[in-house]
Amino acid sequence: MADTSYSDLLKDAQARFADYLTPSVRLGVTGLSRAGKTVFITALVRNLVAGGRLPFFAPDAERRIIRAYLEPQPDDSIPRFDYEAHLADLLSAPPVWPESTKRISQLRVTIEYRSAYLLKRAIGLSKLHLDIVDYPGEWLIDLPLLEQDYRAFSNEALKLASAPSRAEFAKPFFAFLAGTDPAAAEDEHIAMTGAKLFTDYLRATRDSGAQSTLAPGRFLLPGDLEGSPLLTFFPMPLASEARLPRGSLAAMMARRFESYKQSVVKPFFNDHFARLDRQIVLVDVLTALHRGAEAMGDLDRAMTDILSAFRPGANSWLSVFLSRKIDRVLFAATKADHLPASSHDRLEALLKEIVDDAAKRAETEGAGVHSLALSALRATREATVKHSGEILPCLRGTPIKGEKIGNVTFDGATEAAIFPGDLPADPAAALDAARHAKAASLELVRFAPPKLLDTLPDGKPAAFPHIRLDRALDFLISDYLA
């Protein structure tokens, strides 16, 4: 029958057309290691797929989301985010926090929805591909290298290394440099020794927590580049204008530096960072407060470095890309479940204080900026304890083995009610105190993941409990689902 085949054809054509038009939004998830990226993505995907626990994610609240499911990886070159394994970790008995990942990964979730607009419905636009791109925050530190050549890089790195507070860590490296002539013939062995000493210096600086996190980021977090020649270079003192003699050690270093830029930094920038539409930056404010001044300073500087990647400043051609692409940035203080709800306002205030500069810059560039305290997977429940006439907001949960409060050590199996103490009311003063104080200003107990017992009728785990994950989603992608 001609009629049916025509209508079939038409339907098919419409479906293909809609598929072709189906927009995809790339959501970048970043943060320093241990900020909670993996748990965030796992919980986010689980909540989207299972549904029913996102009351303030507008499209879901309006019942316009039909379903969401995982789709095969669109980019063949990027590893897939191992959602199933991380989910299994959380669902095992006893549940464990998934292992952190140290490389870029991606996951595509397709959301089928009913548009609020008649026109969109008529065209048949009813899908959105959400590509979640997870990459370590440390990689962002490399982006400024793109505008430097080896000479500039060396000058800056050496100047930083000889600063009084850092000189101690850099001593072996400087001793090595003193015995090395940039004009000498290239030698792989010398290059490797130098690179190792340079890496040691960077690592020692970072571990001391007292120094700024330094480029190149991959030296600290090599991922699968460990031992590659790309990471075998180091800064050298160079005379300002002299050409580098062919075949010299300096020329070799310059070549490697350029390769590092070409094959590590630039691909990351071009293939990933510049293509992002939305960005969420996870910040673990609580742990830094807990660990005291050094960790706080560390976080501060690392965040400044990371956030400068989002700074489309006057001298930065990043702005061309940034102003066009990432139009919404969400800063999220993770692990809000480690504080009672009454303290979340203060946590948010602290976060705002930390990201203030970057947020302002992004805002003037026209990007929407928002910050909130969230917990992608809620490990605790609220409770109140009456203690000597005082009513204390407490958290019920199972602290991880080895955690301590006062002289009590937890065994990782018993549940306890914990009052984690108050966050200070004034964020600026608190950060100031935290940066200078020797003692920790907050006692924080890490909790084990909750036992996720609820299941859906199909036997799969129900959406996880969370704090404000729906608000985060709402800010990040709800306009795509209009």
């Binding site: 626990r53 009351p55 709800a341 109140t384 304890v385 203690h387 914990i418 984690p420 009311a425």
Partner: protein, 343 residues
């Protein structure tokens, strides 16, 4: 920047699970200090002089009329007792039938009284719920909000049409939400479906009123019908929001509604009724009867919308408010349709 009266940050502490105080069980919604009464007593009574105070004294007219009414009812009562006792004295079937009928009358009366009382109680409970919610909104804090929402949940419990919404709100009562979010959620999940239903009720009543007004031969019939239909509508709306009143309750509701319209009338008139007058004018050119029908219909829908406002336990937080204009437009369309069809 620290203030002297800032509490010093409290130290962390651990407790055994036995120390956890149970969340205070939610008792029946306690009436707040009674906002209405407190407003009345806000001014010392001695300072205010009312017309009633000035006119105090014997009112002979009143005495005359009460005495006459008492006499009349006494006469009727005497006649009735004589009739009943005569009937009961007869030991034949007439006596038994009379006895049976009287028993039925007594039972029915008792039933009606009980139902009215129950209806009043329900309305009172709804009013208490409203105060609870209003307090929670005025001073947003998680505790009072939880309390208000769980009172709301127990108010609607057992409603099969709301089972889904109830379950959804219950799902989130334990979550950490922003202040005010729980109430918004309840508004969206519990009250929005009810709003839709009451919109249908209002529209139906308005249509009926409009049609009857347009076709009734005498104005008095139409007026009587409007009255009855409106009371019926109030009852239906109150029943939808869980206040199911009796007839007296519905009349009290009607009083509240009218009071509300008078109190807010000025603003609402310009907002909602302007379009109605314009539309009605067009309609009146077509037919005077239809114009009157439309006017009565518009009035009914306005009364209905206000009734929803008065009885709804929550203000409109997340759900779209019912709009008179929108209901009226639909009514107007259907009237024009029937007019074209030649009715």
């Amino acid at each position: 920047m620290t203030f002297e009266n800032d509490q010093p940050p409290r130290k962390p502490r651990i407790f055994k699970l036995d120390d956890i105080a149970d969340e205070p069980e939610l008792e029946e919604a306690v009436p707040g200090a009674g906002a209405v009464t407190s407003r009345r007593t806000a001014l010392p009574a001695s300072q205010r002089l009312t017309v009633g105070d000035i006119n105090r004294g014997f009112r002979f007219g009143g005495i005359l009329f009460s005495a006459m009414a008492a006499l009349a009812s006494l006469a009727a009562g005497l006649w009735f007792t004589r009739f009943v006792s005569v009937a009961l004295e007869r030991q034949d079937w007439v006596g038994w039938v009379a006895f049976g009928l009287m028993t039925i009358i007594a039972l029915a009366l008792l039933g009606i009284v009980l139902r009215e009382l129950l209806g009043f109680r329900r309305l009172a409970r709804l009013a208490r719920l409203r105060t609870l919610v209003r307090d929670a909104i005025a001073k947003p804090n998680v505790q009072s909000e939880r309390k208000a929402v769980s009172a709301l949940l127990s108010h609607f419990r057992g409603r099969p049409d709301l089972a889904w919404g109830l379950a959804r709100v219950k799902d989130h009562t334990g979550d950490v939400l922003e202040k005010g979010d729980l109430l918004r959620l309840a508004d969206r999940e519990l009250l929005r479906p009810v709003d839709g239903e009451s919109r249908r009720v209002i529209l139906k009543s308005a249509k009926r009123v409009a049609t009857v007004t347009a076709i009734s031969p005498m104005m008095w019939i139409a007026m009587g019908f409007v009255l009855v239909e409106n009371v019926r509508m109030f009852r239906a709306i109150a029943a939808l929001y869980g206040g199911r009143p009796g007839v007296l309750g519905a009349l009290r509701l009607a009083r509240l509604v009218v009071g509300h319209i008078i109190a807010t009338g000025g603003i609402a008139m310009t907002d909602d009724l302007l379009g109605q007058f314009v539309g009605q004018d067009v309609l009146r050119r077509l037919s005077r009867r239809l114009g009157e029908g439309a006017f009565n219909g518009a009035l009914t829908s306005r009364l209905g919308v206000v009734a929803v406002e008065v009885i709804r336990p929550l203000p409109y937080l997340d759900a779209e408010p019912l709009r008179v204009r929108e209901i009226f437009n639909e009514l107007f369309r259907s009237l024009r349709g029937s007019e074209k069809a030649g009715v």
